[in-house]
Point group: C2
Chain length 382, copies 2
Amino acid sequence: MDLNQTLPQIDIPRDMIHLGIGQPSNHLLPIKELEKAAAHCLSKENSFFLAYGEDRGNANFRQTLAEFLTDRYPNRVDPEQLLITNGNSQALDFICTLFTNPGDTVLVEEPSYFLALRIFADRKLNLVSIPVDDNGLVTDVLIKKLETLKPSFLYTIPTYHNPASVTQSFKRRQELVEICAQKNLLVVADEVYHFLNYSDDPPPPMGNWINTCPLISLGSFSKILAPGLRLGWMHTNIDLIKKMAKSGLLDSGGGFNPFTSEIVNSVIRLGLLNTHIQRLKKIYAQRLKIFCHQLRIHLPKQAKFMIPKGGYFIWVKLPDNMDTQSLRKAAQKQNLDFNHGALFSHKKGLKNYIRLSFAFYDEDVLAESARRLGKVISENLS
Amino acid sequence: MDLNQTLPQIDIPRDMIHLGIGQPSNHLLPIKELEKAAAHCLSKENSFFLAYGEDRGNANFRQTLAEFLTDRYPNRVDPEQLLITNGNSQALDFICTLFTNPGDTVLVEEPSYFLALRIFADRKLNLVSIPVDDNGLVTDVLIKKLETLKPSFLYTIPTYHNPASVTQSFKRRQELVEICAQKNLLVVADEVYHFLNYSDDPPPPMGNWINTCPLISLGSFSKILAPGLRLGWMHTNIDLIKKMAKSGLLDSGGGFNPFTSEIVNSVIRLGLLNTHIQRLKKIYAQRLKIFCHQLRIHLPKQAKFMIPKGGYFIWVKLPDNMDTQSLRKAAQKQNLDFNHGALFSHKKGLKNYIRLSFAFYDEDVLAESARRLGKVISENLS
């Protein structure tokens, strides 16, 4: 059992299994693919991607990405509908600059991605939440909220939700888009796990509806290639692209990441991204199967969870009276860590939930973590 | 004479000489160096730089950069005083997020870098300017302004100013730092041209005073390596670094650019950056000599300019009654373009100035541009 993966971002004690880590195992990082791609694109004579880039991302990379997405989406994606970003965190920050002022209301889901909540808090935004059920964001509550609120945008994670792992149904997607079209409310859809399905294909991405309501679909290479690349994209309608590309930041710096874009362009053109995603899906699907099996064996029956159909996470509900922040402290003493539910709530609710990631550890470690988790939950049931 | 360089960011007509382009000639972009560096770092087993990075930039790259700066600065630079950025435009945007609210006052120089002015305008900041003379920012005016204003920060370009090409004297730097220490005013010093000197070394960078007053020195690889890398750094005191690293954006995305950082780490470790800077300095110094000589020959005596000691630009003063925006239109008809002065003034002053870049074209093109410029100015003198 190999726990000893070092990470730049977090310092993990030697014997600790940290199920909070939402990133690929070190051995799944595609260094050989990037070596090939870098050699491919840097051996050329043409060095245009070393100059200041096009504000929305260089045309050849947007073309490659549009083809990649068109092959996988139900509708054609046009290169003019894409704006290249430094990944979804930066994209969210950029959206805040363009579409909000401090004090504005932004709608988020309950639960939502905890670091997005942090980015919004840094912007001094007023967060109001809409619950998520087994079919994703509850549109009836959204309708109700919009009777009195005028939010700057709605932030949603429609597919393989982080942390709730649910996927919004096709029907709910249509409802959401209709409501937002009627109210002219901008939807920011974080679709970072869309390509990581382990059984059926998910419903169409929200990017499908960019011409129906104001909507920006955020995609990223962090989960399907490597987080350290800091490369992602916005997929939206051409008018919104033009508006964003006119910002001072893009005009001054050129596109957000022309050099890395060109290397990833070669990754895609050489067929390496497709192979890599297939490999990831196979490995994660197997991990998920083993991990869920072990959780079913070791967790007490009061712990409830659904088997996710994709993404990185399992969202476990514990009895209402359990405070998972305290549980986490008890777990740490037994060399286990995870993310507690309140992290994912802008109002510090969800105290009886925990989020478990299966992206970072191999199956044997996940099995061991299920044993440790079962033990610590059982010991802390009142 | 070879004009046919294509650029992703701007579309330049075939016979146009555009002296507004503030970036290296295509043949000065170091693709071979990056090819070597990518092969060097991607052939290793260790792929930590493909994971989410340390919030302030990965430690090994900050170590390499600290050594690089220490070799060239009068005082030692500590890796803990550095935060890696996506270049100075992104750094300015990030500083706005952390230190300003819409409506806040920010002090800028008159003239100032026009795209920084755009970034501040996007943030709805209230800009107030301090004039620049032959010794840089006029500290007496700063003192006066600070009697009534409480700005969020002061943005200054101390060395080889863009566009004014002046360098702030050592005495003025000391005065500036004393004033800002007393008033607890944050100084944001854009030092992007610091290493591009063509005669004597410049005064110490403002980074020299990071422990004397609140001060962030911005550095970048855009001018000394390649703009498309979108890589730069902040050099400031450890407390400010800690404050910035705690932002939601960095916590969520990890460091701003871990992958490119690792490639540039290899560029520096292989000694390629030093050689590249020496090459750039030699070439730019020669261009500057020829260009100034030709300008002296061809411009009418009413056009005044100083020969810059470094950087990219020549700042030409024309008679007070000349409007260089109209002059620009006349120039374009003769296949010449440049940036007009009002771009560099937040209050649309400086109408009788023009900025000429000598970074993009070879000597023969610069000589031809001097002829065209002399002709168009002479024709438009009243």
